[in-house]
Every structure is written in structure tokens, then in C-alpha cells.
Amino acid sequence: MRNAAILGYGAVPVGIYQRVKDGSDPPLEHELAVRVVLDAVRMAGLRKEDLNGVVVAHPGDHTKQGYFHTFLTAYLGLTSRSTVVQVLGNGMTAGLAFDEGLRLVRGGETDCVVVIAAHFESGTPTADHLNFSIRLTGDVDFQSIFGAVPIAWYAMSARRYMHEHSVSRAQIAEVAVKNRRQAALNPLAQYRTPVTLDEVLAQRMIVEPLGLLEVPGRADGAVALVITSEELAQKSGRPHVLVRSRGFYHEGEHQIPDRHTDMTDYQSIRIATKTALERANIGLDDVDVFQIYAPCTIVEVMATESMGLFPRGKGWAAAADGRSAFDGSRPVNTSGGLLSRGHPPEATPLYDVVEACIQVLGLAGERQVPNARVGMTVSELGNYNAAIAHILEGRP
């Protein structure tokens, strides 16, 4: 198998695109998607004719345009001899779309594929959005009936983590402060005004014990990547990002298991990241920057502990003491992460790939991790029953 590389990317700032002032017209999802594709292809120095293959992250149930992948392919006037496909996998959707693009190139099906995610949900009122979300939370006939929303898993994990490790909500909430500080330096971020710990703690409750700034806000977004063979990327003479490896694990549970398990430990991220490291023939210490799918403060804590970045029960301290900041020893979610860069769920993992590219190419400006060359991205599909990890290496 040959290697694949990222030669171009494009993204609009994460934000609320569908709710606009009276008298102005909101953009449509494909209009943003088209723009980011053009940006990515221009960055790659390629032409329309060079593309052979379109992989689209399923845009989610609040996006009006159906069969978005073929609609977009036609809108762009693209033909394909490899594939045109839409990929769906819960919160991991865009991570799997990225993975599918890599697989097509690695397998020799195409030399150049575009991977696109556009998530538009802000036009849907929150109560209706949640009414749909409860169907995504467990068994609809035995668990959704109680009204669990997806972030409720993380709230319950937070409660349990606090109990087992004698940690306070405030200590975990430092993650929100740290990530907002990083988002302040990221032009693609949705929330860029720094916040204090007191401000985080003063927000209204959303799912106890997590308040408004400890859970993700609602967001729209659009992002595209151009993936080529390593050979084509090298021949271009342009900066590019080599994809070194992947790892995946699904633990065989759907959110709430049927036996007494430890909800504060994510075995899927441990196995997926370990697999990716082994396949890249490197160790955790060789990774300079981590982009981890963490919808809530507590998830960043538990995920980083589970993958071995910090000791069990101690991961919360890394945000407060700066170790997980862009200028710390274990930089995590340098974009601001899901909490502050923003979380348009079906596009989020591709935004994390973009941040990893920006870091390992040395283009992150004020939030640059010094000398970053190797990055890891991780996404998951709900209560971390599964995780997918990729290791990226910058060739600036």
C-alpha cells in the first residue's frame, strides 16, 4: 500500500450561519461547501480535472438538501472513476469520511480525492434538535424513553469521575478556560473571547453538573480536504501532510452497556491510539500535538487519561497548570476544541484534521506548538464506544 497525503484544505469559521438578522439572507449549506472545496483545491495547486473521487460526510438530519454528495458533485461539475459517496458514523462521521478518502488513495483507486463536510443545524430550534437527538441516545424503546440527550452521558461520567477521584466541577472546568484561550488565537473558532473560571462556573446548568460553557454550543460549519498520493504531493513541491497511520476500535457497546463497567475509562481511545502509534512505529512522546474529539470538559480529561497522556484521576490538572495548552508539554485541542473552536458535529473531525495540518506545517501563528511535526487526531461515535485515530506528519 502506498501513502496518502493532505495537499490542501479549506474551512469557514465555525459559527451560526443559519440564524441571521432580519432582512439578510443566510447562506445555503452547499454554498459554503463549494467555497471550501475551491479553497482546498487552490491550496493544493490542482485543477478541477485532477480530482477523481468525492467523499462527503453525511451532513446530518437538519440539513435540507438530500443526497448531498451527488448534488454537490454535480454542482461542481465533477466526474469520478473512483467513487462518490456519503459516509455516516455518528460523531465520527467526518473522521470516517477522512478515513475513506485515505483508503481510496492508499488502495490506488485514485490519486486525488476531495473530502467534504458541511454541517448546518442552527436553523433548527434547540428543543426540536434535542427531540431528534434523544433517538441517538441508546435504545429508543428502553433508554431514549427517559429523555437522555447525548451530552447526558458525559454529565453522568463527570459525576462519576468527580466521585471516584474527589475532584470538583471547578477543577474539570479549567479545560474550558484553557481551550477558550487557544480559540482566541484561532480565526476559525466560534468563541474567541477569553473566559475566567468564575465565568464558566457562573453559567446556567445544561446537564448537571455541566453548565453552558462546559458543553458544546450549537454550530454550523464547512470544511474540505484534498487528499493525494504521497508521490503526487511530493511532485507538487508544496507543503503537505503525510498520513502515517490509523487505528480504530469499537468495544461492542451502544452507549450504556448492560453490565457494570467503568464509564470513566475509554478503552476504545486507548486501543485506537495505541494501534495508530504502533503502525507509525512511534511512541506517544513522539507526537507533538493532539486534536481530540471532546464535546465536554470532562471528555477531554477522560480521553487524555485513557490514551495515557496523563495519569488516571489526574488529567484535570493538565489544563490548569498549562501542560495541555499549546505552549505546554502535551498540547491538546490547540484550535480551542469542540468547546470553543466549535462543534458542528458532522464536520468536527475534519476541522480537527485541519488544525493538525496547520500545526504540523508550522502555520498556527500565535498558537503554534513550537517545532510541531507530528500530530494525532481522534474522533469517536458517542460515549466513546468507538474511536478512530490518525497520525499526521508535516512536510512544510
Partner: protein, 145 residues
Amino acid sequence: MSAQSPRMPILKRAGLRPFPPRVSAFTRPFWTTLGEGRLITTACRACGRLTFPPKLVCRGCWSEDYDWRELRPSGVLYSYTRVHVLPRAFVADGLYDFAIVDLADGVRLMCRLLGDPAQFAPDIPVEMVVAMYDDGPLFAARPTG
């Protein structure tokens, strides 16, 4: 069915279940029995594994040979939360609590959590109860005693 446990208290709740379950020929015994104050699930005849919710195939060994087994209606509170942003179907109900409960018989389930939130804490003992709405039952937990 195996030896009988004490029946669960049946608490009347006004109105309809906010997001009612569907009932199939397979799951009918669960809901009918729940309405009588008993919590049952499937146990594999081949390997003995209990599961929840009930399943028509064993997750462990794929045997399709199962018994309905009554669960003791007691356990401990593993964790819980109160939801403040309400899905459309739950707006009329107002704020609600739900929990993950580890039953004494070894299975974990999610359910409504009733009672005084000031009493809620991880690892406290809870008892299972039936919340009987006008259109049928749901299962719930509350602090014991």
C-alpha cells in the same frame, strides 16, 4: 419465571409517557409484567448470561434460547444527571432526572430517577419502582428508604 421478588411500588403519574416505547410481540411480556410491578429480562439458557434491555439473541453466545427472568428491584446509583435543556417531547414534563443504575443481579440500566435530588449521590442504594402513566408504565429508581 424464576422465584419471585417483592413487587415494585406502582406510582401513578398523570398524563402520557413523553416518548413512549414501541411494543413488539417479543418485548410485550416485559411491558405487561412491568405494569404488574415486576421487572424482567432475558437470561440465556445456554450460557446463563443476563442482559438488559431484553434481547432475542444472547450477546455472549448467540443462542436464541432464553428464559424470562425476574430481576431483584434493587441496586446502586452509578451516576445521574438532571437535564435542563428539554427535548420538545419532554417540555411539558419540566426538568427531569435520570440515572444509570447497577442492579443487584449484575445488569446495568438507565431509567428515570425519582425522589429528592438532595438525597442523590453516586453509590447510594436505590430501589426500582414503576411510574404508571395513563398510557402505560415506565421503570424508575429512587433512593431506598
